[in-house]
């Protein structure tokens, strides 16, 4: 019974998604071309000594490094953007008020509506890893799955708390959410998605330690590519836990304020 509402959202979003069959399958085509493109970039720069040196911590192969970077940074995009886009989308479709007049709280609506995005992103990440492993020679033979999964869960929680803050902006300002934009661009720039943070200037490296993606990608790469265990990535996991402990209560307080304000000024369903 407790899960019936989240399951109903998941089913509704799945049915809606597959009703656009062409777009559904096209997304997987996009993954294939992205993987191929980075494979050739990797072929171009792969043997350069400075590349080997910078990536030695992760096994020295650029393609393996960037594959995990682009695959798992999808969670960054979803965590940051899905909550706000769910609110905006339901406001625009016109279904938000219809949902809120039922005995279902807004946080339930927002969290449940984002499930599909996370589920679909997990599928996309699986496709990235499968393509890399099966067709492009990425070696996951030594992968230590459990620490990687824990890192993934903590990553989703950390990014989601930031996403909830972002959704609060959409609730009040409707458009022009600065949180998602700033975090997404700076995380991609200095979080180690396409290149290791070791190549950044020292001061920028210091800044990158304030971003959860730095710890997420490091822990996931080390676990999947080097077989690192909890002892090796414990520091990264701890950083993600601390980050979440700080941001989750803050995000919930901000979100509650945003909902109360939208109800007060009467703009809950406006877009």
């Amino acid at each position: 019974m407790m899960l019936s509402k989240p399951l109903a959202f998941l089913k509704k979003d799945f049915l809606t998604e597959i009703s656009y069959r062409f777009a559904f399958f096209l997304q997987f085509g996009g993954i294939f071309f992205s993987v191929v493109m980075f494979y050739f970039v990797s072929e171009l720069i792969g043997d350069a000594p400075n590349v080997q040196r910078s990536l030695s911590e992760y096994g020295g192969n650029y393609f393996s490094f960037v594959l995990i970077g682009i695959a798992f940074s999808n969670f960054l995009a979803v965590g940051l953007g899905s909550f706000s886009s769910v609110i905006r989308s339901e406001q625009m479709i016109g279904t938000l008020e219809a949902m809120l007049v039922t005995p279902t709280r807004l946080p339930t609506v927002v969290l449940s509506s984002s499930q599909w995005s996370f589920a679909f992103t997990s599928l996309r990440v699986g496709v990235y890893l499968l393509l890399g492993g099966l067709f492009f020679g990425v070696n996951f033979g030594d992968a230590n799955i459990l620490p990687a999964l824990v890192a993934l869960v903590l990553t989703v929680i950390a990014f989601s708390s930031l996403g909830i803050i972002s959704a609060s902006f959409v609730m009040i300002f409707k458009r022009g959410d600065p949180i998602a934009w700033a975090l997404s661009t700076s995380s991609t720039l200095i979080g180690g998605v396409y290149y290791p943070i070791s190549i950044l200037p020292d001061w920028l490296q210091s800044v990158s330690y304030f971003f959860p993606i730095t710890y997420s990608l490091r822990a996931i790469r080390l676990s999947l590519l080097q077989g690192a265990g909890f002892d090796d990535v414990g520091g990264d996991l701890l950083a993600l836990v601390v980050f979440s402990i700080i941001t989750i209560p803050v995000s919930l307080v901000i979100f509650r304020y945003a909902v109360a304000r939208a109800k007060k000024v009467g703009t809950l369903a406006y877009y």
Binding site: K12, A98, V101, P103, G266
Partner: protein
């Protein structure tokens, strides 16, 4: 003593906004607009109450406050004995909101899939949900079309689905915000008949917001006439018609409202 299901005391809603670019010298000054002002209202169980007024009278704002979608700025209101601010979840269990908004459904899903989704939000699942959905679809005459995509429905069918959604949780009070907007005369009459015959038979209370005087006269037991956020008159249709010319009064209010705007 009458069984009161809806009561408002001095219920008020003000909106405040900055003057902004409309008055650059006073950019940060605030202006306040009162959409609903000191509304006192009592509706009894089983009654069909009409909220009648021209566009912009405050009917929708009042309805939204009573449905917990908007917080009042002042006053208080109870639905089924529950406070609309402090006991929102209990209020939501007592009500259904049926508006003329076609876009409150998922158009890519079928009618039945939509109802299954909303049934879950009302706490219905599994066999209970399926059987209730079949029941309401039968009741509103949409059983045969239930498995067609919502986007394929006519306006009348979409409105019937809105009614079906409202019936799912078997609430005490139905708020209907201009439910016949966009409907042809036949569909309008069917909806009126449904309200008068079926909902009254089930002992439901209906609060119907409309700007059609004829609709209010035909369907409602009592009418509250709103203009510029205020409840100008309230009473039985027969009393209001008897005391003065309701039509004349209503038209006077529309004129007054236009002049003030």
């Amino acid at each position: 003593m009458a069984d009161v299901v809806l009561q408002t005391i001095n219920l008020t809603k003000e909106f405040t906004k900055r003057k902004g670019l409309s008055s650059p010298r006073h950019f940060f000054d605030k202006v306040t607009f009162t959409a609903v002002r000191d509304v006192d209202l009592t509706v009894e169980r089983g009654e069909i109450f009409g909220l009648l007024g021209p566009n912009g009278a405050g009917k929708t704002t009042l309805t939204k406050m009573l449905c917990t979608l908007m917080l009042p700025s002042g006053g208080s209101a109870t639905i089924n004995g529950y406070d609309i601010v402090r006991q929102q979840n209990q209020v939501k269990r007592s009500i259904a909101l049926i508006s003329s908004e076609e876009r409150s459904f998922y158009w890519r899903l079928t009618g039945r899939e939509n109802l299954k989704f909303f049934a879950a939000l009302y706490g219905l699942s599994g066999r209970a949900a399926r059987s209730r959905i079949d029941e309401v679809l039968e009741l509103i005459g949409m059983a045969a079309a239930a498995d067609r995509r919502f986007q394929e429905y006519s306006t009348g069918m979409k409105q019937r689905m809105a009614l079906a959604r409202g019936l799912l949780a078997d609430p005490e009070i139905f708020f209907m915000d201009e439910p016949t907007k966009g409907l042809d005369p036949v569909a309008t009459r069917q909806l009126h008949d449904f309200i008068r015959d079926e909902l009254v038979r089930q002992g439901k209370t209906v609060v119907l917001a409309t700007h059609h005087l004829a609709e209010a006269e035909q369907v409602c037991d009592r009418i509250g006439i709103m203009s510029n956020g205020e409840m100008k008159a309230c009473g039985c249709v027969s009393d209001l018609v008897g005391e003065a010319s309701l039509i004349e009064y209503f038209h006077l209010l529309i004129e007054e409202s236009r002049l003030e705007q």
